[in-house]
Symmetry: C2
Subunit: 297 residues, 2 copies
């Protein structure tokens, strides 16, 4: 489940609600391309902005549209009781795994974060991926906390933030984390622009925003790294620099929002307020980058 | 409305729900003490962790228990559509004002934050207090953004984070902000340990966590500052240092949670998971500080 390319699609949403039809098509497109798993309702999938009912329905649709490809469903929420309810909904929808970020309003102590994972993993009958995303949660996992949580029952993977730029340091980071966690727990990287460094450094999975929109492109890179062709994988990632620049500047979600409407895969807007897609000038940059990369159609 | 001491009570909540009886008593206690206004469902009031229904009921109870003392109600949420619904509920409950922090999951751009306030203020029939709290929202208001938002219709006040330590710098900060906003918009300070510096520097209000539990103590300090007795106000604040130390170490919410159960004003626990009150050793520190300050009964 937690190996290879995990593709994270948008959940197209506006003030009228979720566009489930476009969503099903986005997921089906990923399954048809042969991704290893689908990450439904991740940060790119806007889980934090949807109601329990919308999330339950989106989870069901994702599982159906994935047509046998394993689906992981995001269950994060501000309250433990909400997370438990969402975990139940995801499992009822047929999710193969769940993804949990420790969302915060009041900054959480390390014991509070651990307590959340302890209470939730106890109730699960599918494996959980620990979602370490300080940019959205403001939780800074220490190595000690990762080690404690990874030893809880049902923990299957850790989704880490971008690894360091320098290959030796990226490898040291993956190795250090690996030493702290059971052998059954995989490590998957995020931060698409740095993903190739994580894959080349031995991470097991790429939890990928790019893969949620351009599965073939992300698969080519993933398969090269998995086959041990580090140089080729790096080359493929370097070619995507025009997109990585925009990811770093506007956030991957906003770029993917602009891409989805540019390619006609969703209506516009496709993000819930107060989020707005990139402004006109940034949209032109996105369109230009797609043209350069031959990703416009 | 937005002047003097605004007291922010806890909303005692556990996994079974909100303890509305204790909540009504907490609010009535503040009104009886003569605070200038009550800040219901602020950060200390746990607004981010409650459902729409719980918030509507708590708002109604706060207005009733306040017995004529003006009540401001927190309407923050991750989605603009939720904020609009909560604003309606608060106004129906009889709130005299609303308080809005730009809650975030995906980091918001300045235009997205402005857009949120623009859409919400347009719909209001009571004044709004802009809640600038980077610790919980991760939004760092620039002066330019404060100026733009303060000129929107229905904006009545800005709740700012702690002012700088040094009195001259605190004054410069208040003056700089004042120069950017209409004369009709007041400035109120948060960060209780620094509140006296804000009041002495000419801020109009103290949005106070301490005042939500110890209204007499906070009123004495506020009245001294309002009467121009800066030295006396500073002395009163300095005396509270045993509490300020704990506020800075554990967060004001956790300290007030421990105080409320120590004083028998709420049951224990009184915070919703994943939040937990302070650990045993921190609770002993809280009890010792209350003893030293003569606030134990």
């Amino acid at each position: 489940m937690f190996r290879g390319l995990s593709a994270f699609p948008l959940t197209p949403t506006d003030e009228q609600g979720v566009d489930y039809t476009s969503y099903a098509a986005l997921v089906a497109r990923l399954a048809a391309a042969g991704v290893d798993s689908i990450g439904a309702l991740g940060s790119t999938g806007g889980y934090a902005y949807l109601t329990r009912e919308q999330r339950a329905r989106a989870a069901k649709i994702a599982v159906e549209a994935a047509d046998g490809v394993p689906v992981m469903v995001g269950i994060g929420a501000l309250r433990t009781s909400q997370v438990l309810a969402l975990a139940e909904d995801a499992q009822k929808a047929g999710a193969d795994a769940v993804l949990l970020a420790p969302m915060t309003y009041q900054p959480l102590t390390e014991d509070e974060v651990f307590g959340l994972y302890e209470e939730v993993t106890r109730e699960l009958s599918v494996p959980l991926c620990v979602y370490d995303n300080p940019r959205t949660t403001q939780v800074h996992f220490t190595d000690d906390l990762h080690g404690r949580i990874a030893r809880l029952p049902n923990v299957g993977s850790i989704k880490t933030p971008a690894v360091p730029d320098e290959p030796a340091r990226a490898e040291a980071r993956i190795d250090a984390l690996r030493a702290l966690i059971p052998a059954t727990v995989t490590i998957g990287v995020s931060g698409d622009w740095a993903a190739v460094r994580g894959l080349n450094a031995g991470s097991d999975a790429w939890y990928s925003v790019l893969g949620g929109m351009f599965p073939q492109t992300a698969l080519m890179l993933t398969r090269a790294a998995q086959a041990g062709h580090a140089g080729r994988a790096t080359e493929l990632s370097d070619q995507l620099e025009p997109l990585w620049v925009l990811f770093r500047r506007h956030g991957a979600l906003r770029v993917m929002s602009a891409v989805a409407s540019h390619l006609g895969l969703t209506k516009e807007p496709n993000l819930p307020r107060p989020l707005r897609g990139p402004d006109t000038s940034a949209r032109q940059d996105v369109a230009a980058a797609l043209d350069v990369l031959g990703l416009s159609t």
